[in-house]
């Protein structure tokens, strides 16, 4: 990848590594008595590894001008691999913590292996490691195809991709060491947060600079969703992480907010992380890869625009439904509840739009597991958004809150929607990017599909049952007006469901391992197509291929 950088970009890369090395060494020195010192070393070692890679290829000839007549897809390719690896890591830790809940004695006597430290490794691993890399990889691909313009330069996409993964490594390693600012999904401490802001600004600038050079006058709706994801995540991340570190040599910081303001800021962040990270970004993915794979334009382009603005402006106000029956003013709770219910309209408009796009192409859905992944994602998106609106109603929330129903809801969205649309899109994208006629094995995609579907169903049903039982047990009173069940009674009732949940997660994880294997084998399989073919669809002339190519 170094040989693809121009001379100036190589200098820029060298400067970046130098600055990173200085910052890392400074952190390691100032924080030698603190956990931040370890992170300083991780940053310094990453900078050295980058600099070594740069120096080894520094004398390579500069890329020729012909590169400008091709899209720049190498960052997307590396991003796909990183997505699949993070997926396996994140889901593996997920199965681990699920097993810990079912069999608590299965732990080892080490602080890093405790549930409290492993659980954020799972959540950040799948949301940021798996989901974030998938969004970065696909957004670069979609942006270039829909604007018909190449990325603005060769350095910034790599900076975003590797910088983002450095953030993910700092986050996960920090949790294991015990670094956390105790804000759910925003656990990394101040220095990692600042680094993510730098990466994110560059990410957004790539989008703007490419759009400025676009050859298509209208900006395709997928890009709006991706841009909303980048812009709003920046806003949420900066505001929720406003904090003062106790010194530059310490990882610990104190939030700007306290009390109910802190709770409101955190759940404004938390819910919009779901809205803009796990929904808007992946809707962008869906609005490109689903029509492309089905070979049919989106059913209603106008609906996609209306639901875009509906989603972006209404989600912003829904976060307070996480704080029903708390010290938060009643009218703020009602506001969040009302917006959550209204949100069903744009959410179902998107899900319906996706399914209506497939209407008339059901034979493709039947034959092509890749398209079936995307269809299933749209169905789960519809289910999860309905459930979310329902659970945001205060009376329903009084039963569901603090129970496993919430966990079930999150996983209906995360496994059923986010992971399914991601795997569908990556399966479609891999042969296009690597110029392969088809995936290594269509049969393995089928296996993955059914493992993923059964894993999700087992998981979600287990948590629904467990959650409703918990909720009911916690609110059942006896004749004398005291609680009928102790907390331990409810724990015993949950045990079988926890075993089922761990099993469902294991099924889903096996699918993720199969996906990694299948895509790696696709990349490693010898090229059957003449290399001068620059088309995305090298063998599109073969309509009978088992894995149908887009655009047939």
């Amino acid at each position: 990848m170094i040989s693809q950088l121009t001379g100036n970009e190589r200098v820029l890369a060298a400067l970046t590594f130098l600055i990173l090395l200085c910052v890392g060494v400074a952190m390691a020195a100032a924080g030698r008595d603190d956990l931040i010192g370890t992170h300083g070393w991780i940053i310094a070692v990453s900078a050295i590894a980058g600099a070594v890679a740069l120096l080894r290829a520094y004398d390579a000839p500069e890329p020729s001008a012909t590169r400008l007549s091709e899209y720049y897809d190498d960052p997307s390719k590396v991003g796909i691999i990183l997505t699949l690896i993070w997926g396996v890591i994140g889901m593996l830790v997920g199965v681990w913590v699920a097993a810990l809940l079912a069999w608590p004695e299965l732990t080892i006597d080490a602080a890093w292996a405790s549930f409290g430290r492993l659980r954020p490794v799972h959540t950040s691993g799948v949301i940021f490691g798996f989901g974030g890399n998938a969004l970065i990889a696909t957004s670069f691909h979609v942006l270039q195809r829909t604007t018909r313009a190449r990325l603005p330069d060769q350095f910034s996409p790599w900076f975003v991709l590797f910088g983002y993964n450095l953030f993910c490594v700092l986050a996960a390693s920090g949790y294991l060491m015990g670094i956390t600012q105790s804000k759910e999904y925003a656990e990394p401490e101040w220095y990692a947060d600042i680094w993510l802001v730098v990466v994110w600004v560059v990410y957004f600038s790539i989008y703007i600079r490419t759009l400025l050079r676009r050859k298509e006058p209208h900006i395709y709706v997928a890009n709006w969703y991706y841009m909303a994801f980048i812009l709003v995540v920046a806003l949420l991340h900066i505001i929720n992480n406003l904090a003062v570190p106790i010194s530059f040599g310490h990882a610990k910081s104190y939030s700007l907010f306290s009390g109910v303001q802190d709770a409101m800021t955190q759940w404004w962040y938390g819910h919009n992380a779901v809205a803009f990270f796990l929904t808007a970004g992946f809707l962008g993915m869906m609005y490109y890869y689903l029509p492309k794979r089905a070979g049919r334009p989106i059913y209603s382009y106008r609906t996609s625009i209306i639901s875009f603005w509906g989603i972006t402006f209404m989600y912003m106000w829904a976060g307070s439904h996480h704080l029903h029956y708390t010290a938060l003013p009643h009218w703020v709770q009602s506001l969040g509840m009302a917006f959550s219910v209204v949100l069903l309209v744009p959410s179902w408009a998107s899900a319906g739009n996706a399914l209506l796009t497939l209407n008339g192409a059901w034979h493709k859905v039947r034959d092509d597991a890749v398209l079936r992944f995307m269809m299933l994602a749209a169905i789960f998106y519809g289910l999860a958004t309905f459930e979310g609106s329902f659970m945001a109603i205060r009376a329903v929330n009084s039963l569901s809150h603090y129970t496993d129903w919430t966990i079930g809801h999150v996983h209906a969205g995360a496994l059923g929607w986010v992971a399914m649309i991601t795997y569908g899109s990556l399966y479609a994208l891999t042969p296009w990017l690597w110029k392969r006629p088809a995936l290594y094995s269509a049969k393995l995609v089928e296996w993955h599909f059914w493992l993923a579907l059964s894993g999700t169903v087992v998981y979600v049903f287990a948590m629904w049952n467990s959650g409703v039982i918990q909720g009911l047990m916690w609110r059942t009173y006896n004749d004398s007006g005291t609680l009928s069940y102790s907390f331990v009674d409810s724990l015993v009732a949950m045990h079988p469901y926890y075993i089922a949940r761990a099993f469902g997660g294991l099924l889903f994880l096996s699918g993720a391992v199969i996906a990694l294997y299948n895509i790696v084998m696709t990349i490693r399989s010898p090229v059957a197509v003449a290399s001068e073919s620059a088309s995305d669809i090298p063998l599109g002339l073969e309509p009978a291929a088992p894995i149908a190519q887009a655009g047939e």
């Binding site: 899209y71 190449r150 050859k215 382009y301 209306i306 402006f313 009218w331 655009g551």
Partner: protein, 57 residues
């Protein structure tokens, strides 16, 4: 005018209503504006077109 809790909640309860209605109208007007129909259709079709996979120079 003092900036207190009453004033802020009053503002957010009234202004929020009007700007969201105005924005909804704006979005609907943009979406259904007759001359926008063609670029929208072009954009939707361009995604699935078989055009050569290269940037325009």
């Amino acid at each position: 005018m003092t900036i207190d809790h009453e004033m802020l909640t009053g503002f957010s309860k009234s202004f929020g209503l009007f700007y969201l209605i105005a924005m909804s109208i704006g979005v609907l007007v943009y979406t259904y504006w007759p001359s926008n129909k063609k670029p929208f259709e072009h954009a939707a079709k361009a995604v699935v077109s078989d055009e050569e996979d290269r940037p325009c120079l």
